[in-house]
Every structure is written in structure tokens, then in C-alpha cells.
């Protein structure tokens, strides 16, 4: 008897809450959060999604969004590796869930598939927080694809600029033999040559080998005195550096983001002093504010692409408010205007304030956690820290 009672009570409570939810649903604006929740970056995506949903929560609780509308996030999984699954997940969000915009996707392959097959076809805007492939800059998206993560092409340029600024006129390049390494090596050498530098040799290295002395022999035979290593710090990149130091072929190195970490200094036998490189990120006020803001809401904001995820979601909310409508076309149209100047600067945790300014007919320039500034095609210019070893990685400048 008691069991039956309990069951009835639970059922009643459930149905009550369901009607309550249904009621709020009719009011809520649905936004998709489509990331690789399973697959190779499954450890990163949950916190990325939490960060994005934090921005939605702020907007919903402010009561200022389109006269008190709420936002409901709908998650979907791209699997990161299967483009077909990614597009069908996005298709479901757009056609059956009827989302007005999407945060995502995370991996470049998924983003490409969704941008061309779903976002462009249905006129739904998407902002990726973490797709960095240079190919996405020219993807056929009908202006629907945006990203708060900078393209790797940009990192190549920034790094080339730093190398030239340091008056290094000739380098040898070695890169890890995959899309990341190849893309970065290409963008670096193009930018470096354009600035008057000379690339003596550009050679790939395979990860996971026991010995890199042959690779180093070829690199040093090129006659260049400086070596650019575009690889991974726990893989072949470290092997190349170790073999170079052992043979005294190179004494300092120029590194990109995949190579920078304290474990490199710890695991390499010999001095890396003078080694320098670039790492995405900034030390802006916004980055610090985001960490505090996320922490106050129970999220660890210090991790890859979390700030970018928050910013992607915030931009969508502000775009709704700027167009005074949760209409798909209106959101897509207004993203650029809220991301860039003119307008009042908006930092993390100030979404309510921004919504109010927009409601009163003002303008905002959302800077957020990652110092958002969109290029003409709607991607973050990205800021990079210039770091140098002495004897740990120290930030010299932000580019």
C-alpha cells in the first residue's frame, strides 16, 4: 500500500513538473549546443558546454532578454570524427528542435560539415568555440559560420612576425606529420617569406620514434641556425629538441602552441634558455573576470576553449537582443555588430548590463573572456602570448 502511494505521489509530482516545464518551454528560446561529447575530445567538451550555458543562464535570469524571455540549451553530439553524424545531429536540432542558432561545433571537421550542409542551407547561425582549421576561413557558409577561436593561419603569421622582429632571417622548420603541423608550417613559412625571411628546409617528423638524430642531421645540414618546431611537447617535437641539444645542432628553438608547457622544460635534458614561441590566450581583464565569474558558478574556467565557449553563447544572446527578435535571420545579421566596435565594452558577467543597453537602443562591443574581435568573415583575430624560456616559460607580450 505504501509503495502504491509513493508511486502515485511520484507520478503526480512528475507530471506536475512536466506541465511546468512544458509551460516554460513554450516561452523559451531554444539554442543548440553541438559539440563532440563523445570521441577524441570528450574530456574537453562537457566544461565547454557548461561555460556556454553559463552565458545563457545569465541572460535568462536577467529578465531583460526580449522582455523576459528564457533560453533553453539543447545539447547534441557530433562525435568529432564522423561528419555524417555531425550533420544529422545538427539537422535534428534545426528541423525538429527548431533551435534559432547554435554554439559549435568543436572539431574542425564537424564544423565544416555542419556549416556547409545545415547552417548555410537553413540560414541558422553557428559560432564555433574551438575549430581552428585554416580551411574554415573560406568555407561556403553563406555568412552563417562564425568562430571565437582563432585560425591556425593566424598563429603562423603572429609567430613569423615575432621571429622577424627578433631579427632572425633564416630558419629550418620541422613539423609533426598531420593536419595541424602541416597547416601551421604552411602558414608560418608563407608569412615568414612574405616578411623577407628565408626557409632553408621544411621537413616533417613522425611522432613516436625513439631517435631523432637523423632528422636533426638533415635540419642542421640546411645551414640554418634557428629551428622552428611545430609539433607536440610529449612527442616527436621533444625528441627533435633533445637530439638537437645532444648534437649541439641548435641551441634555442622557436615553438608554437603544441610545444609549450612546463613538461617540456622538465623532460628535456639541457638548457632551453632563449627558446620562444606563441600560445593562444591573453592576459586581458576579461580573461581574469571570466575565471572568477565561472568559479562563482561552480565551473572551472581555466582550461582550453572554455572562455571561447562562453563568448560564443554570449554573442548569440546579444545578437537576439540587438535585432529585438529571436528570429534566425535576425540573429545571424546582428552577430558582427555586437562583436565589434562601436559600442560599450562588455566583459564576462556583464550580459545583463549589455542586454539593458541594447534594449534602450544603445550599442555594445562585446569583448568577453577571449577579447573577441571578428574579422570580415566572422572569425576571431585571436590574441597570442609571446612566451620565452628563462628558465621557465614567461609571457613577454600579447599579440
Amino acid at each position: 500500500m505504501r509503495k502504491t502511494l509513493l508511486a502515485t505521489a511520484t507520478a503526480l509530482a512528475l507530471s506536475a513538473s512536466m506541465t511546468a516545464m512544458a509551460a516554460s518551454h513554450s516561452e523559451a528560446i531554444k539554442v543548440g549546443v553541438i559539440l563532440g561529447f563523445t570521441g577524441p575530445i570528450e574530456s574537453l567538451t562537457p566544461t565547454m558546454a557548461d561555460s556556454a550555458e553559463l552565458a545563457f543562464k545569465e541572460a535568462s535570469e536577467s529578465g531583460a532578454l526580449l522582455d523576459g524571455k528564457k533560453i533553453e540549451a539543447v545539447r547534441a553530439d557530433t562525435t568529432c570524427v564522423d561528419a555524417a553524424v555531425a550533420s544529422s545531429a545538427a539537422e535534428r536540432l534545426v528541423t525538429s528542435e527548431k533551435v534559432v542558432a547554435m554554439v559549435g561545433a568543436a572539431c574542425s571537421g564537424s564544423s565544416t560539415a555542419i556549416a556547409t550542409k545545415v547552417a548555410a542551407a537553413n540560414g541558422v547561425a553557428m559560432i564555433s568555440p574551438s575549430s581552428t582549421s585554416p580551411a574554415l576561413t573560406t568555407v561556403e557558409d553563406n555568412g552563417m559560420f562564425f568562430r571565437t577561436a582563432p585560425s591556425d593561419a593566424r598563429q603562423g603569421e603572429v609567430l613569423a612576425g615575432i621571429v622577424i622582429d627578433r631579427d632572425i632571417k633564416e630558419v629550418a622548420i620541422t613539423y609533426t606529420n598531420n593536419d595541424y603541423g602541416k597547416g601551421l608550417a604552411e602558414s608560418f613559412s608563407t608569412a615568414y617569406k612574405a616578411k623577407g625571411g628565408k626557409v632553408a628546409i621544411s621537413a616533417a617528423h613522425e611522432d613516436g620514434k625513439a631517435d631523432y638524430s637523423a632528422e636533426v642531421g638533415a635540419l642542421s645540414a640546411s645551414g640554418a641556425e634557428e629551428l622552428v618546431v611545430l609539433g607536440y611537447l610529449d612527442q616527436g617535437g621533444r625528441g627533435v629538441i633533445q637530439a638537437s641539444l645532444d648534437a649541439d645542432a641548435f641551441s634555442r628553438f622557436i615553438l608554437a602552441d603544441g610545444m609549450i608547457g612546463d613538461s617540456l622544460i622538465k623532460n628535456v635534458d639541457g638548457s632551453l634558455n632563449g627558446t620562444f614561441g606563441t600560445l593562444p590566450g591573453s592576459e586581458s581583464a576579461g580573461a581574469k573576470m571570466f575565471l572568477d565569474h565561472a568559479k562563482a558558478n561552480g565551473i572551472d574556467g581555466d582550461g582550453p576553449y572554455r572562455a571561447e565557449s562562453y563568448d560564443a553563447a554570449a554573442l548569440l544572446v546579444l545578437a537576439m537582443q540587438a535585432g529585438k527578435s529571436a528570429d534566425r535571420a535576425s540573429i545571424a545579421k546582428n552577430i558582427m555588430s555586437v562583436a565589434n566596435a562601436p559600442g560599450e565594452k562588455i566583459l564576462p558577467g556583464q550580459i545583463a548590463k549589455a542586454l539593458k543597453i541594447l534594449a534602450e537602443g544603445g550599442e555594445v562591443d562585446y569583448d568577453g573572456a577571449s577579447n573577441v574581435e571578428f574579422s570580415e568573415v566572422g572569425e576571431a583575430a585571436g590574441s597570442y602570448k609571446e612566451v620565452e624560456v628563462a628558465p621557465k616559460f614567461n609571457t613577454m607580450k600579447v599579440h
Binding site: G208, A210, D211, A214, A218, A221, S222, G239, D246
Partner: protein, 341 residues
């Protein structure tokens, strides 16, 4: 005629990037190839599990080294791994003998053709592969804790005033010395000792050896113990000089077989020579000679490009090509070994 100093620079450069690394790598391959050749000569099958037996022996030695390090044992400037090595050899020998009892003896007693034993050894290879990964994991392990350099490139430059440096690592010296000692000891054992003679007799003609009263079980046992010892020593030397990772040991199988076959499989001298032939081919074909030519040749003969025959990515292709060419042209190898049927 280029000046003497230019010649010296070229020679130093060549030694630093070709001669010394080739010598060390060749010694490691020679020890590995000796193990393969011994098993082939006496037990009559190509043991594909040899690379992973090396990985197993190295793993045991690494675990022992860590244990000794935690106790604070050290023989600096020599690496702690040298004390751990005998224990590694004993454990690996037990493991190899146990594998033989569990797998190979079954086929041997049935007088299965060699190809069956070879295929069984592939199965054993996968098992050992998994055991090693299960115990120590698939990642890089570094366990060398001795003094690193006998001669640093920069010190060499200051000492001699040359433009090119020569770096000699202790691990390279250690590799060559240990390999030399082991090879001499093995040859003495095979040529002079009673058991060695019995093993050679068994290898030459099994039936005749049995008739003259040689105990086959003992020969098999000794062969496995020696093969395990050679595998462990080769693996530990390779791991100290480069780094230990189960997958790279599996990949070593190709150059090791190439070495054994070039020299003539079943022929110990051949294995040693083959090891150096393969190592120097790999290093010399993939080295970029531009700087050497710049030193040696007159200015207008100097090359524009890197003067590199093959990119370093093709290192393994070199072993493969050697293997194919030798099997096509001279299947018995340089020293008239057996022909794999």
C-alpha cells in the same frame, strides 16, 4: 685542394652525425640479429617474437632499475640499469623458456614444418606485446641515470678550435663496448666450450647430433637462455641510448631481420656484420651531405640542395629494400647462411 682544417671539419661533422650514431645503432642491431640468427640456426624457425622479447627484457630491467633507484643504489657515473641488467636477463630467460614449453615445444615434438613455428611465433609476439603494454604501458620510459656525455659538442669545439662539434654520449660508448664483449664471449662459447660445440653440431645436422648423444632438450634450453640474454642486452642498450617504448621495439624487428638475412641467417659472424651494414645504410642514405660537401669541395662545385638521397621518413624503407634485394640476389647472405624456406 681544400685545407686540412676544412677536411677535419668535414670529418668531424660526418663522425658526429653518421659514424658514431651508426656505430651505436649497428651494435644494437647486431646483438638483436645474433639472437634471431641463433634461434633460426638451432631451433630452425624465424622467431618474430624477438623484438617483443627485447621489449620484455628491457621492461623487467627498467622495473628493477626503478626499484634500485628507490633504494638509493647508484653506481654513478655508470647507469643503475647495469646492475639491474643481470636480473632482467634471468627473468627474461625464464620467460623465454616458459614460452618455449608452452608453445614451441608442442610443435617441435610434432615435427611441424618451420613455417608453422614461425606463425606460432607471431602469436607469441602479440601476447608479449600485450603483456609489456599491460605492465608498463605504451608510453615512453626513460631510465638512464648515468653521466650523459663523454664529450660535449661545445667542449669539443673549444678544445680543438674546429667549427664543427663532436658529441659522444656515454650510452654510445657503453653500447659498443658491451656489444664487443658479448660478441667475443658468445663466439668463444660457440667455438671452444663443450655446450657450444654441441649447439653447432645440433645446428649442422640434428639427426647426427642426436646419434652422437647430444641431449636436445639441453641444447634448446641453452639456446633460449642465450637468445633471451642477447635480447635483453640489446633492448636495454637501445633503451638507454634512445628511449624505451614498446611500439618502437616492435618496429625494430624489421631492421633486425634485415641484418640477420644480409649476413646470412644462422651465421653468427654474418649477424654482426649485417647489423652494421643495415645501420650504416639507414644512416648514410638519409643523411644530408650538404655541409660536408661545403667543407670538402671547391666553391663552385658546392651543391645548392641538401644532397640527401632519401628523406629521413624512409629509414624503414631502407631495411626493407636491403631485405628484398638480398633475398632476390643472394638468398644465402654475405656469409653463406641458410636459406629460409
Amino acid at each position: 685542394m681544400p685545407e686540412t682544417i676544412e677536411m677535419l671539419n668535414a670529418l668531424t661533422l660526418f663522425s658526429n652525425f653518421v659514424l658514431i650514431p651508426g656505430l651505436a645503432y649497428g651494435s644494437q642491431l647486431a646483438l638483436g640479429a645474433l639472437g634471431v640468427t641463433l634461434v633460426f640456426g638451432i631451433l630452425r624457425f624465424a622467431n618474430f617474437a624477438h623484438g617483443d622479447l627485447m621489449a620484455f627484457g628491457t621492461m623487467v630491467t627498467i622495473l628493477m632499475t626503478w626499484w634500485l633507484q628507490s633504494l638509493g643504489v647508484s653506481i654513478s657515473p655508470l647507469p643503475t640499469a647495469l646492475i639491474a641488467l643481470p636480473i632482467g636477463i634471468i627473468v627474461t630467460a625464464l620467460f623465454a623458456v616458459a614460452t618455449d614449453k608452452a608453445v614451441f615445444s608442442f610443435y617441435r615434438l610434432k615435427k611441424s614444418p618451420p613455417v608453422i613455428l614461425t606463425i606460432a611465433s607471431i602469436g607469441v609476439m602479440f601476447m608479449m606485446n600485450a603483456i609489456v603494454r599491460f605492465i608498463i604501458g605504451p608510453n615512453d620510459q626513460r631510465f638512464y641515470d648515468g653521466e650523459k656525455f663523454l664529450m660535449k659538442a661545445r667542449e669539443f669545439k673549444q678544445l680543438t678550435g674546429l667549427d664543427e662539434g663532436l658529441s659522444i654520449r656515454y650510452t654510445q660508448v657503453l653500447t659498443v663496448v658491451v656489444a664487443l664483449v658479448v660478441v667475443i664471449a658468445l663466439f668463444w662459447f660457440l667455438q671452444r666450450s663443450r655446450t657450444g660445440k654441441a649447439m653447432r653440431a645440433f645446428s649442422d645436422n640434428e639427426d647426427l647430433a642426436l646419434l652422437s648423444g647430444i641431449n636436445p632438450d639441453r641444447v634448446v634450453l641453452i639456446t633460449w637462455i642465450i637468445a633471451a640474454a642477447l635480447a635483453t642486452i640489446a633492448g636495454v642498450l637501445y633503451g638507454m641510448d634512445k628511449s624505451f617504448k614498446p611500439f618502437t621495439y616492435f618496429q625494430l624487428l624489421l631492421p633486425i631481420f634485415a641484418a640477420a638475412i644480409v649476413g646470412g641467417i644462422g651465421h653468427p659472424v654474418g649477424a654482426v656484420v649485417g647489423g652494421y651494414v643495415v645501420a650504416f645504410s639507414e644512416v648514410m642514405v638519409t643523411y644530408a651531405y650538404k655541409k660536408v660537401f661545403v667543407y670538402v669541395l671547391p666553391e663552385d662545385w658546392q651543391p645548392e640542395g641538401l644532397s640527401q638521397l632519401l628523406s629521413t621518413d624512409y629509414k624503414f624503407a631502407v631495411s626493407f629494400i636491403i631485405l628484398v634485394v638480398v633475398l632476390l640476389i643472394k638468398p644465402t647472405g654475405l656469409f653463406k647462411g641458410k636459406v629460409i624456406k
